[in-house]
């Protein structure tokens, strides 16, 4: 059990983490989500007693880390997979960590097997790929067979098979009753791996709830309504009528309307009553990714802008048309509006100086350019699109002789 109370960290006048309180419980995978620079790694370092909080405290099993008896056997952590001396062989790297914690050397060979690095154990880690480095870091976290595990971005640089392996490893560790705390900036990954979510932005808590609740609270659907392009006044007319009937209407970039708060048949009736023809009336499900983006959009520190390419482009030949901008690029993001909450919002999206929506480049792109493309898989009763049907199944063909076989070992053994 990890417990943070009023955790605050300031570096000079920059506040990295502010008044963060949460609990990470045993027996579940807790996802720790936030955009880059939101304070995830700082929080992890404070949990491990590496950074001293400016205010508040964080304890593991009731003790601050630096007072925790036999800490390395209780807590294992992967903070930064690149934090190894490149000139040292993988096995030696683990061996010195093991000796530091009083762990016998044979355990080193065990964890090397668990992460599938036994064949490169005596090679210098300088030549390792990002994925191999992550495996080495995970091996280091597993060394002490700890009850509490922290992983900072464990799937970075892993191939799909590696991602699946990490996902299953986290779940099996949690199933053994351990506390597993995994940070990520990928909502889609966490939706598959985690049981519980802690979302932060700009160092502040945005949400602390189970994935199930998160889905229920945030995956509310919306209807996309399109009126004839040829008659823009119809669009205004319909928007007014829908708003009057209690719907929440947002215009989309391509001229369609995003409507929440009204069921589809009602929208159709209203359109009929107001004499507006419809070209499209389609149900849509906001993905978890989208809900997460919406939640954190005010809290993103590093935001891309349109590449102006000033001075780099050839002058256009006379008469040529400048290329049309790709819809969704460099323009304000269009996320599904927050679903109506009977008991108030489960989280408060930060407002104020940071509240202006910017231009997250990739996220809404899937929706905007072609609204028709997504209709089939997005029936309202279907699960959110972030979740493929069978996340927990082992890979279809696990029988490749050497490395893959060893990778699936932990699941087989349990």
């Amino acid at each position: 059990m990890i417990e943070a109370v009023g955790l605050t960290k300031r570096y000079g006048d920059k506040t990295a983490v502010y008044n963060l309180s949460f609990q990470v419980r045993p027996g579940a995978v807790t996802g720790f989500l936030g955009p880059n620079g939101s304070g995830k790694s700082t929080t992890m370092r404070m949990i491990l007693g590496l950074d001293n909080p400016t205010a508040g405290q964080v304890t593991i099993g009731g003790y601050p880390y630096r007072k925790l008896p036999n800490a390395p056997r209780q807590v294992g952590a992967l903070l930064d997979a690149k934090a190894v001396h490149g000139g040292r062989a993988a096995r030696n790297h683990l061996l010195c960590l093991a000796q530091l914690s009083g762990i016998p050397a044979r355990r080193v060979d065990e964890v090397l097997g668990v992460v599938g690095l036994q064949d490169v154990a005596r090679q210098r880690s300088k030549g390792f790929s990002l994925g191999m480095g992550q495996r080495l870091g995970i091996a280091a976290a597993l060394l002490g067979d700890p009850q509490v595990l922290l992983f900072d971005e464990p799937v970075n640089g892993l191939d799909p098979e590696g991602i699946l392996w990490v996902r299953n490893l986290m779940k099996s560790l949690a199933a053994e009753g351990r506390t597993v705390f995994v940070s990520s900036h990928l909502m889609s990954e966490m939706a598959l791996t985690a049981d519980h979510l802690i979302v932060i932005g700009r160092g502040q808590l945005l949400a602390d709830m189970s994935v199930k609740d998160f889905i229920a609270a945030n995956s509310a659907g919306f209807a996309r309504v399109r009126t004839p392009d040829t008659e823009p006044q119809l669009r205004e007319k319909l928007a007014g009528a829908l708003a009057e009937a209690g719907g929440h209407v947002l215009p989309e970039q391509d001229g369609a309307l995003r409507v929440t708060g009204l069921p589809l048949p009602r929208i159709s009736d209203i359109a009929h009553d107001t004499d507006v023809r419809l070209w499209e009336l389609s149900p849509h499900q906001a993905s978890l990714e989208e809900a997460y983006m919406r939640m954190t959009q005010g809290a993103v520190d590093y935001r891309s802008t349109i590449d102006q390419k000033a001075g780099l482009q050839q002058p256009l030949p006379p008469g040529a048309q400048p290329p049309m901008p790709v819809p969704g690029q460099g323009q304000p993001g269009w996320y599904a509006p927050p679903p109506p909450q009977p008991g108030g919002q489960p989280f408060a999206a930060p407002q104020g100086p940071y509240g202006a929506p910017g231009a997250p480049a990739a996220a809404p792109g899937a929706d905007a350019p072609n609204p028709y493309a997504q209709q089939a898989p997005q029936a309202p009763q279907s699960p959110p699109p972030a979740a493929p049907p069978a996340p927990a199944q082992p890979p279809a063909a696990p029988a490749a002789p050497s490395a893959p076989a060893s990778l699936t070992k932990p699941e087989d053994a349990r």
Partner: protein
């Protein structure tokens, strides 16, 4: 307990990187080879020397002439042992495993110091014997008064230089910054301060100037240094203690 665990681990760390072997063997080879070269040259020059120079001719000290360069490799060794932890980020894993930062730092330094002492003493003895062989008829014997003290002192001097570097590296954390300050300081600045008459009185209290007094058997004519060989080494040891205290304070207080 924690200290023995850290010592075992640090021994694994220190022997599993190539830089240890490179820096230490460079220190050995440079110290011995340069000492032999200068000893041989001095033996040839002896007949042309002034009376004054002959009186203060110190065959033991001459055979240690290579240390002025060899100590630079010792500095690199000391700096890398500590700052490798920071430059690789390994320090976080290490401190997560050993939250008692003092235990961690001093066990680490103890292991590196032990290794530096063994290498330093071996270098000192070999440099002495080979240097004396080059000096021919002007040589000193190990049994002569003060010589054994000087030879052992040479090993201690090299060790203390390495430990001083470890302390500085623990304070500064960055290998480039530590080397960028220590190398020119010991190679140039300290020598300049010690040889310019205006700063001479101050310069002789610098760690290397004071510490190298232990390797002198015959004092130069007109020497008015206010401390003896062991006093000089003591002054150097105080510098080392100050550097270690600074390194410990830094590690304790700052975020890893």
């Amino acid at each position: 307990m924690a200290a023995t665990q850290v010592i075992r681990s640090e021994w694994t760390k220190i022997r599993s990187v190539a830089s240890t072997v490179w820096t230490l063997s460079l220190a050995v080879v440079v110290t011995i080879a340069l000492g032999m070269l200068i000893s041989g040259l001095s033996a040839n020059e002896f007949d042309n020397m002034s009376e004054r120079d002959r009186l203060s001719f110190d065959p033991t000290f001459i055979s240690f002439a290579g240390m002025s360069l060899g100590q630079l490799a010792m500095i690199v060794f000391g700096v890398l042992v500590v700052s490798n932890e920071y430059s690789t980020g390994m320090i976080r894993s290490s401190l997560a495993a050993v939250p008692q930062r003092g235990t961690f730092l001093f066990s680490k330094i103890a292991v590196a110091t032990g290794l530096a002492l063994v290498v330093g003493l071996a270098t000192s003895f070999v440099a002495f014997f080979l240097g004396q062989a080059m000096l021919g008829e002007h040589r000193a014997a190990l049994g002569d008064p003060g010589v054994l003290r000087a030879v052992i002192g040479g090993g201690l001097y090299m060790t203390l230089i390495a430990v001083f570097s470890m302390g500085v590296a623990a304070m500064l954390r960055s290998p480039m910054l530590s080397l960028g300050i220590l190398m020119p300081f010991f190679f140039l600045i300290s020598n300049i301060l010690g040889n310019v008459s205006a700063t001479e009185k101050l310069g002789r209290y610098l760690p290397d100037q004071a510490g190298s007094k232990i390797m002198q058997v015959v004092a130069p004519v007109g020497d008015d240094t206010p401390y003896g060989p062991w006093g000089g080494l003591g002054i150097m040891a105080l510098w080392v203690l100050a550097a270690l205290a600074g390194g410990y304070a830094t590690l304790r207080k700052r975020d890893a």
